[in-house]
């Protein structure tokens, strides 16, 4: 099922960068609070993130790909329902799966529950939400994504970037600098955001290509 790669409207192209910029500024703005009080900051920034992601998806994607007949007259209103479904799905399924993955990758089990869970939700909104919205319930394409074999686009590379970023975010934790920001899960979340932004931008630039390996 090839993606219909019509030339993106210049305004839409601007939109994706605007979205990137607002994601980054959201993180930077809330960073001091995130360091001093991770749980509550993670919670309060969730709606902002959800809104940013939804707005971006509504504006940039012409139509969810699960639709058999791509109608030319996709409007924001027709996309609202799948968008809402995707959001629910990524919150109810994506976040718990990511929580388990975070645990497997070394997140604390017995302590810091709210921090880890909220990190999983953030990660899910960054990585899963766009993917679900775009892929729907297409098993074949999901398998391609899990095998890292899908066609390059913003959502896919963004998700890869977010996961790799979260993984790489663990690097500075053991350093003996004794900084406040080394606490859990600040670096993980920062890594995820940074990875998502980089992956998304690369995916945007190289959309339509195959993965090199």
């Amino acid at each position: 099922m090839p993606t219909s790669q019509s030339k993106p409207h210049p305004l839409l192209a601007m939109g994706t960068h605007l979205h990137t910029a607002s994601l980054a500024s959201n993180l930077i703005l809330h960073f001091p609070k995130l360091v001093s009080n991770p749980s509550s900051t993670l919670l309060t920034t969730l709606p902002i993130l959800a809104l940013l992601q939804s707005g971006h998806l509504l504006l940039s994607t012409s139509s969810p790909k699960k639709r058999r007949k791509p109608s030319k007259t996709t409007t924001i209103s027709t996309s609202i329902t799948p968008l809402f479904l995707s959001l629910t799905f990524s919150l109810l399924v994506g976040a718990p799966v990511l929580y388990l993955l975070l645990i497997l990758f070394g997140a604390p089990v017995t302590t810091h529950f709210s921090e880890t869970a909220l990190t999983a939700v953030h990660l899910s909104l960054l990585a899963c939400f766009p993917l679900v919205f775009q892929l729907g319930v297409d098993g074949v394409r999901w398998r391609e994504v899990v095998a890292c074999h899908a066609t390059v686009d913003e959502a896919f590379l963004g998700a890869v970037g977010a996961c790799v970023g979260a993984w790489a975010g663990a690097v500075p934790i053991p350093l003996d600098w004794d900084r406040e920001w080394q606490r859990w899960p600040v670096t993980i979340l920062t890594g995820a955001y940074a990875g998502y932004i980089v992956g998304k931008t690369v995916g945007w630039a190289g959309r339509g290509r195959k993965m090199p390996f």
């Binding site: 990758f105 070394g106 095998a147 003996d176 600098w177």
Partner: protein, 859 residues
């Protein structure tokens, strides 16, 4: 070669010091000394507000005791500290290794001058009760002694009672001149449950009671009236109760001099000392902080003996009050002359420089070099001394103080500069070592390049891991927290493998299972520096769930038992194999159980107690020997079996017993597997019992990997490399000297045998890596049975490349960061660990044992 340049050679002057004709003999304020060492007695244990040393504090308060915090240099372990206390020198890093090879004769102090030898040489008698380190360090020196060994750290009371029971007897006698007591209980409590332990305060109260007993005897009994009583810790402990590094807690032991005579000193204080008190500096800097080596000149001077030759300690001017004012200069001068002779040995030009005429009002601090500064200070001091002698003044108040000050300044500068000498590096040798390493690296890379290319994923990952590891060696916190790197790499690598598997086939979630196991494994033992002492499965979960622990342990042994039953002893029939497997595993399990009952009774559940009790009848040594014997016999038999089946020729492969079995597998497999199972039994014996279930988890992972047929040989090699490191840290290993586990080093050894104990120590600390090394041949054979030799060669090549690069990186880091604050605490232990990894583990266990197993199974 690098090692020789890196670990500095320190010249020491042999022979005993004697009084020179220039030294003026001064009367000795004391003629006896009681030297009471309490192992790991951190300063706050005595001086702090939550201390149990109430009597000692009352002595400080009333001025009959002079307290210090004695700064101990790293490595903060007992033997180097005892050396520092007695000789006044600063032991080099090499002593750390010798501490573990305890009875090695080169580390004994028979050759080096020290205050015990001085007492003996001057006709005194010595007695010693406590830690047998002293007896090993000073062979034949003590007239009466009773050594206790610190083998079982769970023993809090017996070790100390064995010392205390001699005290009254000895205090009644007057034939000794020095009594050394070394209590280990407090250190054991620290190792076992940390400084906040509930046992800590009662132990301090007990120690305080002993102080009171001895002090009261000194005060009341006439034959003890000129006895100096010293209470000292050899080192401190960190918040986890361990020591060895240079944390503030570890380097700050308490030191108290006690005697009724000391009141004369206290009377000169402007403000009487308070006790208990708050630290003056940092967390543990109570009262004045001095160097631990300063003890040596103080003790010898107070006893009227010459200062030990290699002493770098400085006499404390405070104690000068004990002498008449005109004698004080001589006491200081002796110390200064003694230090001067070391300076002359280290810097021959000093002799010439010190002869130069003295120019008054010359600022010595501006001198161009250390030697010249010392020479300048020396000239100043001798000038002042000369003027005093010329004037022949009895009224000494004003000039004498100036001389004391000048001499003291001179001595402390000596100390600072000479301590620096102790870490001079031979850069030429170090560069040579690095050059050799570069050669080895290039060689292995050149050899490796043509054979790679099979799997781009593994190639890239190997490159990334090796480079990242090399870079990491330059960051002290990453060296300390190396386990994080490996856990982190392991998750990433297994995720990559998982994704790769998803590409090829569907439905294989085995790698997620491996990831889950790895998640449990990394929580097993908390390791590293930053979070040392944080809760983990072994320390927080098992003490309350002993049944689960032992069920897991039994499962582990059962798993190995099944393995041997299935694959071992094919030629003698399944019954015999079953019996043999049963004997072996039961012997090994019995040993583990009785060891556990000995070492940590509280971790053995009640339903296993009868078994443990029954086993205590048999000495541990014999049990361990039985296990080793059975394992050895099993291995020998397996090797013979492989030979005989090879001798029977190609058709003889199906021997009668294997024909009975329904599985038509290749007998070659069985031999390799049973060798591996027997190795596992041996490894299990050398593992701390709380860690044995980890071996079960490793076995599960290894079985999962075997079933993943799509992995290439290189991917398997890389997986093994990662798992070797992960398992090393999961079993509690770290890049710190204090993490070396000695609890299994004496299994089956009654006396001390350096080779065997060294070997057992190595195995017990490298259990995990050796497990993977012995699993490697099997895992690789699964890949490509056709050209096993080629695959093995490549495996060895990859491993060699990794260790060569790692070695190069560590050496470069040690050279580049040789002036770094952490060089002795972080980088040089890492270097020692790397040497063991590459020489001990990689060459012997990785290549040697692996090749042996392949050779045996190929016959």
């Amino acid at each position: 070669m690098f090692a020789k340049g890196f670990f500095p050679y320190k010249p020491f002057l042999p022979g005993l010091a004697v009084f020179n004709e220039e030294d003026v003999q001064t009367p000795a304020p004391f003629n006896k000394v009681v030297f009471m060492v309490v192992d790991a007695l951190r300063s706050d244990f005595v001086f702090g507000e939550r201390s149990g040393f109430k009597f000692t504090q009352s002595l400080i308060f009333s001025g009959r005791a002079i307290p210090f915090t004695a700064h101990a240099t790293s490595p903060t372990i007992t033997m180097p500290r005892v050396k520092a206390i007695t000789t006044g020198s600063i032991p080099g890093f090499l002593d750390v290794i010798l501490n573990f090879a305890e009875s090695d004769t080169t580390s004994s102090l028979a050759q080096q001058d020290n205050w015990l030898a001085q007492i003996k040489a001057n006709g005194g008698k010595l007695v010693m009760y406590g830690d047998d380190t002293w007896i090993k360090l000073f062979p034949g020196m003590f007239t009466r002694s009773d050594g206790t060994s610190s083998f079982f750290v769970s023993d809090f009371t017996e070790v100390d009672n064995n010392v205390t029971r001699h005290i009254d007897d000895e205090l009644a006698r007057d034939d000794w001149n020095a009594m050394v007591l070394h209590y280990l209980g407090l250190d054991h409590i620290g190792h076992k449950s940390g400084p906040q332990s509930a046992f800590m305060l009662p132990k301090q109260v007990e120690m305080d009671g002993i102080v009171e007993r001895i002090y009261t005897a000194i005060e009341t009994q006439p034959h003890l009236d000129s006895t100096l009583f010293v209470l000292a810790g050899d080192h401190g402990m960190n918040d986890a109760g361990n020591h060895g590094g240079s944390g503030e807690g570890e380097t700050s032991p308490a030191l108290v001099f006690m005697s009724p005579k000391l009141k004369t000193i206290a009377s000169t204080y402007e403000v009487p000392l308070k006790a208990p008190t708050k630290p003056r500096s940092g967390e543990f800097g109570f009262y004045d902080t001095i160097e631990q080596s300063d003890l040596a000149p103080v003790i010898t001077s107070l006893l009227g003996l010459p200062v030990p030759r290699n002493n770098l300690g400085v006499f404390m001017p405070k104690f000068l009050q004990l002498w008449k004012s005109e004698e004080r200069v001589d006491v200081m001068m002796r110390n200064a002359r003694q230090l001067r002779s070391i300076v002359v040995a280290a810097y021959p030009e000093f002799e010439r420089l010190s002869q130069m005429p003295y120019a008054p009002h010359n600022q010595c601090g501006d001198s161009p070099s250390d030697v010249e500064e010392l020479a300048c200070l020396w000239r100043e001091a001798t000038y002042l001394l000369g003027t005093r002698n010329r004037k022949n003044i009895v009224d000494t108040s004003e000039p004498a103080t100036a001389i004391h000050e000048s001499l003291w300044k001179l001595c402390t500068r000596y100390q600072q500069i000479l301590s620096g000498v102790a870490s001079n590096y031979d850069l030429r040798l170090m560069t040579g070592g690095i050059a050799l390493m570069v050669g080895a690296t290039i060689l292995s890379v050149v050899k490796l390049v043509p054979v790679i290319g099979e799997s781009s994923l593994a190639d890239l990952s190997f490159l990334a891991i090796t480079v990242a590891y090399g870079v990491m060696m330059f960051a002290s916190s990453f060296v300390e927290e190396e386990h994080h790197f490996w856990y982190w790499v392991a998750t990433g690598w297994f995720m990559l493998l998982f994704l790769k598997e998803r590409r090829k086939s569907n439905g294989e979630f085995g790698l997620i299972f491996v990831l889950t196991l790895l998640r449990i494994i990394r929580r097993w033992n908390q390791t590293g520096q930053k979070y040392a002492g944080a809760p983990d499965i072994v320390k927080s979960y098992f003490p309350e769930h002993t049944t689960i622990l032992w069920v897991l342990i039994i499962l582990t042994y059962f798993d190995v038992f099944v393995g041997i039953c299935r694959h071992g002893f094919r030629n003698i029939g399944p019954q015999a194999a079953g019996i043999f497997a049963f004997t072996t595993t039961m012997a090994a399990f019995g040993f583990k159980l009785s060891f556990a009952a000995y070492d940590a009774m509280e971790l053995v559940p009640t339903w296993l107690m009868p078994g443990a009790k029954a086993l205590t009848e048999v000495p541990l040594v014999n049990q361990a020997r039985a296990v080793f014997g059975v394992v050895g016999a099993g291995m020998l038999y397996t090797i013979c079996e492989s030979n005989s089946s090879a001798a029977m020729g190609v058709d003889g492969n199906t021997t009668p017993s294997t024909a009975d079995q329904s599985q038509p597998t290749d007998p070659v497999d069985h031999i390799a597997i049973s060798m591996r199972e027997l190795t596992d039994i041996f490894l299990l014996t050398q593992t701390r019992f709380a860690n044995t279930p980890l071996i079960l988890l490793f076995r599960l992972i290894s079985r999962r990997l075997e079933s993943l047929k799509t992995l290439s040989a290189f991917e398997i090699t890389l997986t093994i490399l990662i798992l070797q490191h992960v398992s090393f840290f999961a079993l509690g290993g770290a890049n710190a000297i204090s993490s070396v586990d000695l609890s299994n080093a004496y299994n089956g050894v009654a006396g001390y045998n350096m080779v065997i104990v060294g070997f057992l120590t190595f195995v017990s600390n490298w259990v995990g890596p050796i497990f993977w090394a012995s699993a490697a041949p099997m895992l690789l054979r699964e890949r490509r049975p056709a050209d096993a030799r080629e695959t093995w060669k490549k495996h060895v090549l990859v491993m060699t490349t990794f260790f060569a690069v790692a070695g190069l990186a560590v050496m470069a880091a040690c050279t580049a960061l040789r002036t770094h604050l952490f060089i002795w605490t972080v980088f040089s232990p890492k270097y020692l660990y790397l040497m063991t990894w590459s020489l001990g583990f990689h060459i012997v266990a990785g290549i040697g044992w692996g090749s042996f197993m392949i050779a045996v199974s190929r016959k």
